[in-house]
Amino acid sequence: MRTLHWTLLASIALVFSLLFVAMNTQFIVAGGSDSLEVVVKPSALSQWVTLTLFFCSYFFFILRKTRLSPLQKNINIILVLFFFALLMLNSHFFRISGRENKLVDSWFFIPTQSISFHPSGDASQIKYSIQRTAIHIHTVDNTSMTVITFPDFLGVSKHELQAKLNSFGFSME
C-alpha cells in the first residue's frame, strides 16, 4: 500500500513538474512563435510553492506512520485534497493570441473555451464583466466565455487579466 502511495506521489510530482516547466516556456505555451501571444498565467513561484505544499502534505498526512482517529484521518485527507486543488489551479492559463486572432482559456494545455476577434475590427464589441471569482467575456453575437480567476498569487490573476483586456480595447460593462 505504501509503495502505491509513493508511486502516486512521485507520478503527480513528475507530471506537475513537467507541466510547470512547459508553462514557463513561452514557445510551448504559444504552441509556436510567440511574438504575438499575450499570456496570463500563475507565477512560477506560486506553481512551485503549491507543488511543494502538496508534496509535504501528502508526505506528512498520508505517508507518515502514526495511528490516527477516523476524524484525524478525514481532516488529513481534506487537507491533502485542498493542496491538490491549489495545484490544479496552477495548470490554468489564458492567452490573447494575435497569431490565431483568438482569446483562449486553457487548463493543462487543453483549450477549453475560446472567442475569435477581427484584428482590424472594433475591439469594444468584445465586452467583459468582473464577477467575484471570474471574468465573463462575450461578443455581440453572444459567443461567451467565463474565465475563473483568483487573487494575484494563485491561478490566473483577475487584475492582470483585466489589464490585458483593457490594453486591447475590450470594453468593461
Partner: protein
C-alpha cells in the same frame, strides 16, 4: 563580412548615405542604434526560402544564401505547431519536421503557393517584376499573381497611413471610434489606424526588448528596406520603430515574426540569429537578390 554604416533613419543624410552605398555596392547596410537596415533598389527580387527537411533553419539559410547568391535573408511570418510538430518538439533536441509547422499566411513563389495557410485577416508584401510599384503591401491573403509574396504579417504603415493600437484623428477634428473601421465622416481625419495584431506585439511579455523584423518600401525613392532589431538588444517599442520609418519617408511597412525569431543574414554573415527553439522549428525565410 560587410560592416554596417552607423546612421540614423531620422537623419537628413539618411538617403544620401543610402544612394552613395547603393551606387558603390548595389545595397546600403546601415545600423541605426540597435536596428539593422538593409536598403535595395526596388528591382531587387524577393525569394522565399522554405525548409523542407528535418534540419536547422539557419543551415537552410546558409546553404540557400550561397547557392542562390542572396544578398540578404530575414525570417518570415509567425507560425504555429500542429500535433505532429508538438510531438516532435517534445522528444529530443533535433530539428522539428517541417510538416509539423503551420506558417500563418501563404508563401507564393512564381505564382504558386509553396507553403503556409491563408491568413485573410493579416497583411502581406508582394513582389511584382512586371508591374509598378514592384513592391505592394496590403490587407488580406497574399496575392498569387505576384512573382513572390508572403502573408500573415502585421501592419506598420499601409499606403502612408501609420498603424497602432488605437485610431487617432487630426487635432481639432471630431474624434471617432477608438478601434475598428471609422465612420466615413471620421475616416478623412484619421491619422492612425488601430490593429490588434499591432497591440498583441506591443503587449508581449518581453516587449519592448523583443526582436522586430520588418520590410518597408518608399515609393518616392523606389527603395525596399529590410529592418531587424535583434531580440534583447535594447528597448525598441514597435511604435518608435514605426515612427523611424515614417520619418525616413517609407510609405509602406509590415512586421513579420519577431521576438527571438528575428534573423538577419547579409552576404553570408548572421547579424541576428534565432533562438534554438525557433531555429529548430521555423520553416520560412525571405531572401533578396538582383
Amino acid at each position: 563580412m560587410t560592416d554596417p554604416i552607423a546612421a540614423s533613419l531620422r537623419s537628413s543624410h539618411f538617403w544620401t548615405i543610402v544612394d552613395e552605398s547603393i551606387k558603390a555596392n548595389t545595397y546600403a547596410f546601415i545600423k541605426d542604434g540597435s536596428v539593422f537596415c538593409v536598403v535595395f533598389e526596388d528591382s531587387i527580387k524577393m525569394v522565399p526560402i522554405v525548409r523542407t527537411a528535418e534540419v536547422m533553419f539557419t543551415s537552410v539559410v546558409r546553404s540557400e544564401s550561397r547557392s542562390q547568391k542572396l544578398l540578404a535573408i530575414i525570417n518570415a511570418q509567425v507560425y504555429g505547431m500542429n500535433a505532429k510538430g508538438i510531438a516532435d518538439y517534445a522528444f529530443g533536441d533535433d530539428p522539428v519536421t517541417p510538416e509539423g509547422i503551420d506558417p500563418e499566411g501563404v508563401v507564393v513563389r512564381n505564382g504558386g503557393i509553396v507553403a503556409g495557410t491563408a491568413a485573410p485577416l493579416n497583411f502581406y508584401v508582394a513582389n511584382y517584376t512586371k508591374k509598378q510599384p514592384k513592391y505592394q503591401f496590403g490587407f488580406g491573403a497574399a496575392p498569387t499573381d505576384a512573382s513572390a509574396s508572403i502573408g500573415g504579417a502585421g501592419p506598420l504603415i499601409i499606403n502612408g497611413l501609420p498603424y497602432g493600437p488605437i485610431n487617432q484623428y487630426k487635432a481639432g477634428a471630431t474624434q471617432g471610434r477608438l478601434t475598428g473601421q471609422p465612420t466615413p465622416e471620421n475616416a478623412e481625419n484619421l491619422t492612425q489606424r488601430s490593429n490588434l495584431t499591432f497591440t498583441a506585439f506591443t503587449e508581449h511579455s518581453a516587449a519592448p526588448q523583443t526582436g522586430i523584423t520588418a520590410i518597408a518600401y518608399s515609393s518616392r525613392k523606389r527603395k525596399l528596406a529590410l529592418l531587424v532589431h535583434p531580440d534583447r538588444s535594447g528597448a525598441m517599442p514597435l511604435s518608435q520603430f514605426r515612427d523611424k520609418l515614417l520619418f525616413a519617408g517609407f510609405d509602406n511597412g509590415i512586421f513579420l515574426d519577431g521576438s527571438d525569431s528575428s534573423m538577419l543574414m547579409v552576404e553570408n554573415t548572421f547579424y541576428s540569429q534565432p533562438a534554438r527553439s525557433k531555429d529548430k522549428t521555423n520553416n520560412i525565410g525571405i531572401g533578396f537578390k538582383y
